[in-house]
Symmetry: C2
Subunit: 150 residues, 2 copies
DNA sequence: AAATACAGGACTAATTCAGTCCTATTTACC
DNA sequence: GGTAAATAGGACTGAATTAGTCCTGTATTT
């Protein structure tokens, strides 16, 4: 199945939780709210911070908050933060958008168009969209565990 | 990194090889042409056949040929054939397009839009496009090994 | 100064993927 | 009709990736 990492799915849950409450929340607190184990939450939050999606504050009463509005955070951003670059096939390119040896690489040529198309698709979907789609179904996200219980 | 399986990349190489020569080719022969190990080629070809992307002929002088024109085979088709359904997050849905429990599933709601967008993106890219992109770079695909050899 | 919370990274366990191989069935050709 | 060529299906193993945990260090508040 063609899918994103589990951690990426978690990441969206965490970001949505942070977006809902506007205040700074500790990694620990977010874990309790979402039901995701706190070491894992900590790991993901570090990635999100390094990618500049959330702002962090150290020390007592520190924690995380969104760096920008949910409308400005795209799925492409989240995936890149957690999994690294969006490139449908393995490539030496880790940096920007274009690989500098692609002219001699027989693999990338054919996947270029696909990469671009997928990146564009994922850039169209924002965090705000995901929140909207969720509430459309009338399900507050912390019900996850309740419904899972048989 | 957000990427497709290695086998899916192989599959595109195989399909391109089949598209170039118009005749029926055996799995063995395709393996020799592309440099991909023949048991692996056999495995992939079976998937492609089950998905209806290639036609097979058993028996002596049998082999595979494209079921339809390269313009009509999309990347979404290839990925689905090799990896199964395109669903960015795990879901009970294995069948068509819609999961029948999605109304009570807090995960899928938020990913629905993304799934649709990615599927659409991958449907836009055809095998014919990939061939064109490759030849644009002037690299016949079997050079892969040559360039890889340091 | 002490407590709280993030930063970075090493490490292990679990899962998934890639690759191989075996047996059965179908078809061409002599 | 018999033999060889080729696909169909599926079981199995080893490799690679991912998920999850934990430890040590640094910054900040009280
Ligand atoms: S390695 Fe970058 S284009 Fe192939
Ligand atoms: S399991 Fe199908 S929508 Fe969640």
């Amino acid at each position: 199945m063609f899918k994103v990492n589990k951690l990426t799915d978690y990441a969206t849950v965490l970001l949505i939780e942070i977006a809902r409450r506007k205040v700074v929340q500790s990694s620990q607190h977010i874990a309790e709210q979402t039901g995701i184990p706190s070491p894992t939450v900590a790991k993901i939050m570090k990635s999100l911070n390094r990618a500049g999606l959330v702002a962090s504050r150290r020390g007592a009463s520190g924690g995380y908050s969104l760096e920008r509005a949910a409308e400005l955070i795209t799925l492409a951003d989240v995936i890149q933060a957690v999994e690294g670059p969006i490139a449908l096939t393995a490539c030496a390119d880790t940096s920007d958008e274009h690989c500098n040896i692609e002219s001699i690489c027989p693999v990338q040529g054919k996947w270029n168009r696909a990469n671009t198309a997928v990146r564009a698709a994922l850039t169209q979907v924002t965090l705000a969209d995901m929140v909207a789609d969720m509430t459309m179904f009338g399900v507050p996200q912390h019900v996850a565990q309740t419904t899972a219980a048989e």
